[in-house]
């Protein structure tokens, strides 16, 4: 790259000074970035105003689709969840970006994006529809102080016959969790998860595949989620609630975060921001007042998930709406956002939810010095990303997602795991049939063949 993609974008965008572009962003914490940082900064640089449209995650697909159907062109730039990108692209809601990428010299910088995201979340049908913009992946966080407490270690070894350390598989996870809960509850529980829709389904996708499960029979496209593996995972997941704090079934992202930061849970699995905030990074920031203060700074360890291949889990692409009336301005904005320079700043924002996704982010000296454990954190994030499992991504993926979400919600409600899975499989089949078994089979084959789809 002879020229910095960020500067290119800024230069080119200046001619749109005075216009306003609307960007769809996930409501809540995510939009703190464009609201507080990148939006104002872009306006200062180019004179283009950025209007942030906050949409709750579960409405994002609907809203984007509606806007496209309506031809209203109310949105210019979009945040798109990668697993839904094929649907949106197929429907024509997204603008193909290749031409603009070339026009504004962005191809090189795209190469810097970590492979897991670059190879899986950027293109559909050979065309670029979005820039992976968030290094989403699941990590295991644990309380070093507890895990390294000699007394605990000793007792644990005595009881279970192996060293107390971050769990290598789910059996260990359960044993450790139960052990800590037994010892320390109600002050500290072994683990806590966020359990509310739609997120636990990513956990399920990961564990299901790591235990050897397949979503579909590749020949018939009949769903096989109700296999023994599915049942086993479901049963484990429910059983784990027992050593987690009461009411964990209701927890969402912040509930779980609060519990961990307040020291109530000893382990949790979540996206990378947990790691930063738990370390106390950004505490005291006005914009981060939403997050309870960390009581565990300096006591947090980072590790790969049990079984070693974590789900990438959602992620975000920056895209341009096909109906936008300011396509080029919108494109330039996302190029600038996504560029090496800007993105490095963004992933370091104390309150950001955007996680490092470029090789240059992982390597950034500045980032590695943000807090004492930052190098360990970045390394874990990087490795997790490299080993990450892709979210299932089929035609009309949102329907499959909805079915899974509902299934897991039923699971917490105490319904019989087998019955839920059978129903889920049946729902999958109905969806598949509706979409067209032939079409879907082809799409599934392509997806399943990707290195991150099923563990080898």
């Amino acid at each position: 790259a002879d020229k910095d993609a960020a500067d290119t974008a800024v230069e080119a965008a200046k001619k749109y000074a005075g216009t306003t572009i609307s960007i769809v962003w996930e409501a809540g914490l995510q939009s703190l970035d464009p609201l507080n940082y990148s939006g104002p900064k872009w306006e200062k640089l180019t004179g283009i105003k950025v209007k942030v449209v906050e949409v709750p995650t579960d409405q994002m697909f609907t809203k984007i689709m509606q806007d496209f159907k309506s031809g209203a062109g109310a949105y210019d730039a979009l945040n798109v969840i990668p697993s839904w990108m094929p649907d949106l692209a197929r429907a024509g809601a997204l603008e193909p970006l290749d031409k603009l990428v070339d026009k504004f010299g962005y191809r090189d910088e795209l190469q810097d994006i970590a492979a897991a995201y670059r190879d899986n979340q950027m293109q559909y049908d050979g065309k670029i529809y979005g820039f992976p913009d968030d290094g989403d992946v699941m990590l295991l966080y644990y309380r070093k102080d507890i895990f390294e407490d000699p007394k605990m270690k000793e007792e644990f070894k005595a009881k279970l016959g192996y060293e107390l350390a971050p769990p290598k598989d789910w059996k260990q996870f359960d044993e450790i969790g139960q052990f800590i809960t037994d010892k320390m509850a109600p002050k500290v529980y072994g683990a806590g998860f966020f359990r509310t829709a739609p997120y636990p389904q990513y956990m399920f996708q990961e564990r299901f595949r790591m235990e050897g499960g397949k979503f579909f029979n590749a020949d018939t496209m009949k769903s096989t989620v109700n296999s023994d593996v599915g049942l086993k995972v479901f049963k484990q997941m429910v059983a784990e609630n027992k050593f987690m704090p009461p009411g964990v079934e209701q927890w969402n992202f912040v509930d779980n975060l609060a519990a961990f930061l307040q020291g109530t849970t000893a382990m949790t699995i979540s996206w990378p921001p947990y790691g930063r905030w738990a370390a106390g990074y950004g505490s005291g920031e006005e914009a981060l007042k939403w997050v309870p203060k960390s009581q565990v700074a300096g006591k947090v360890g980072y590790a790969l998930n049990p079984l070693g291949r974590p789900e990438l889990g959602v992620g975000f692409d920056l895209a341009v709406s096909a109906t936008s009336k300011n396509k080029e301005a919108a494109y330039l904005f996302i190029q600038w956002l996504n560029s090496k320079k800007t993105s490095l700043e963004r992933v370091q924002l104390p309150y950001t939810l955007r996680d490092p996704f470029r090789l240059s982010h992982y390597a950034s000296e500045k980032y590695r010095s943000l807090w004492p454990d930052a190098p360990a954190y970045l390394d874990t994030v990087k490795t997790s990303g490299e080993k990450g499992l892709l979210d299932l991504s089929l035609l009309q993926q949102d329907k499959y997602d909805e079915a899974m979400t509902k299934a897991i919600s039923s699971l917490w409600a105490g319904e019989d795991a087998k019955a839920i899975l059978d129903r889920l499989a049946q729902q999958f089949d109905v969806i598949t049939e509706k979409v067209g078994t032939g079409n879907q089979k082809a799409v599934y084959k392509v997806w399943a063949a990707k290195p991150g789809a099923y563990p080898q």
């Binding site: 579960d58 409405q59 697909f61 609907t62 689709m65 509606q66 159907k69 649907d87 197929r90 429907a91 829709a197 009461p246 009411g247 079934e249 209701q250 509930d255 009309q396 949102d398 329907k399 909805e402 509902k406 299934a407 919600s409 039923s410 917490w412 409600a413 105490g414 319904e415 839920i420």
Partner: protein, 287 residues
């Protein structure tokens, strides 16, 4: 002369708007419901009754109708009863009644979304006061996952619903009760009738039309209940509390099953028409 056509002139704008926004969608839905339009492909070929046939195979649809019915059947009588009891409390002269009434109206005028959100807060197992109060009363920690535990989600929804709408019933019934002929009550008092007899022979018959109207209004509202559930449970756990409105929304707006949604709409309209007609018939009879 203009003045002679006035009766028609002044209905025209209202009727026009009603036709535009009321009739057009029905016709449109009717046509679309015979087509096969989904999110992605804009296939507009006619498929006859396929979508309607589909309705009968859609277990989730019927389940959602069932959920709607459950909520309606439980919440409506409760609201009526509580509203009636409240009205009884305030029917006689009570200094400061104005203030009480003004405050009691509040839940009813609050946005249902706010109501749902508020109760979600109230029900929260850790941060909400309900668990705290129950624990205090029980003398031991009571941890009820109101929105997760199937045994409690309907109670949760119904508590919220009843909280919001009992005051509405209260207002209606208060007004109706104050219209009950005072001298009939006095006559009955002099005749020495017990409260139950007075209730049965005088009060209930005379407020029956209001009760009927109230039930109709609230019944129709309950059948299309959406906001509260959206904010409180989002239809969960699973689709245990998914109502017909919620399901229609999901079909129409997150899955873009356009034709199918139209068919559902017609099913709902047909059902409501039948029910309303029956209710109105009964009301006629009662009069």
């Amino acid at each position: 002369m203009l003045e002679d056509r006035l009766p028609y002139l002044i209905v025209a704008p209202a009727i026009f708007i009603l036709l535009l926004v009321g009739l057009f969608p029905l016709i449109y839905s009717l046509i679309v419901s015979f087509q096969r339009i989904t999110m992605t492909d804009n296939d507009t070929s006619f498929v006859g009754l396929l979508n309607y046939a589909e309705l009968f195979r859609d277990a989730r649809l019927w389940a959602s109708l069932g959920h709607t019915a459950i909520i309606t059947v439980i919440a409506l009588p409760l609201e009526l009863l509580i509203g009636f009891l409240m009205a009884q409390l305030f029917i006689d002269r009570l200094p400061g009644r104005q203030l009480f009434v003004a405050l009691l109206v509040l839940p009813t005028v609050i946005s249902p979304i706010v109501a749902g959100a508020t109760w979600r807060l109230m029900f929260d197992v850790r941060f909400g006061p309900i668990g705290q109060i129950l624990s205090f009363l029980a003398g031991e920690p009571v941890r009820i996952l109101w929105t997760v535990n199937p045994a409690y989600v309907y109670p949760a929804i119904i508590i919220c619903e009843v909280w919001q709408w009992s005051p509405f019933m209260f207002l209606l019934l208060l007004a109706a009760l104050s219209n009950v002929d005072q001298s009939q009550l006095e006559a009955a008092e002099i005749d020495g009738a017990s409260y139950l007899r007075v209730l049965r022979a005088i009060i209930l018959p005379s407020i029956a039309p209001v009760i009927a109207v109230a039930c109709l209004i609230r019944g129709l509202d309950l059948v299309r209940i959406f906001d509260i559930i959206w904010a409180l449970t989002e239809g969960g756990p699973g689709s245990m509390t998914e109502t017909i409105s919620l399901y229609t929304y999901v079909q129409g707006f997150s899955q873009f099953e356009i034709s199918y949604t139209a068919a559902i709409s017609f099913l709902v309209i047909a059902l409501l028409t039948v029910i309303t007609t029956l209710v109105l018939k009964r009301m006629e009879l009662a009069r």
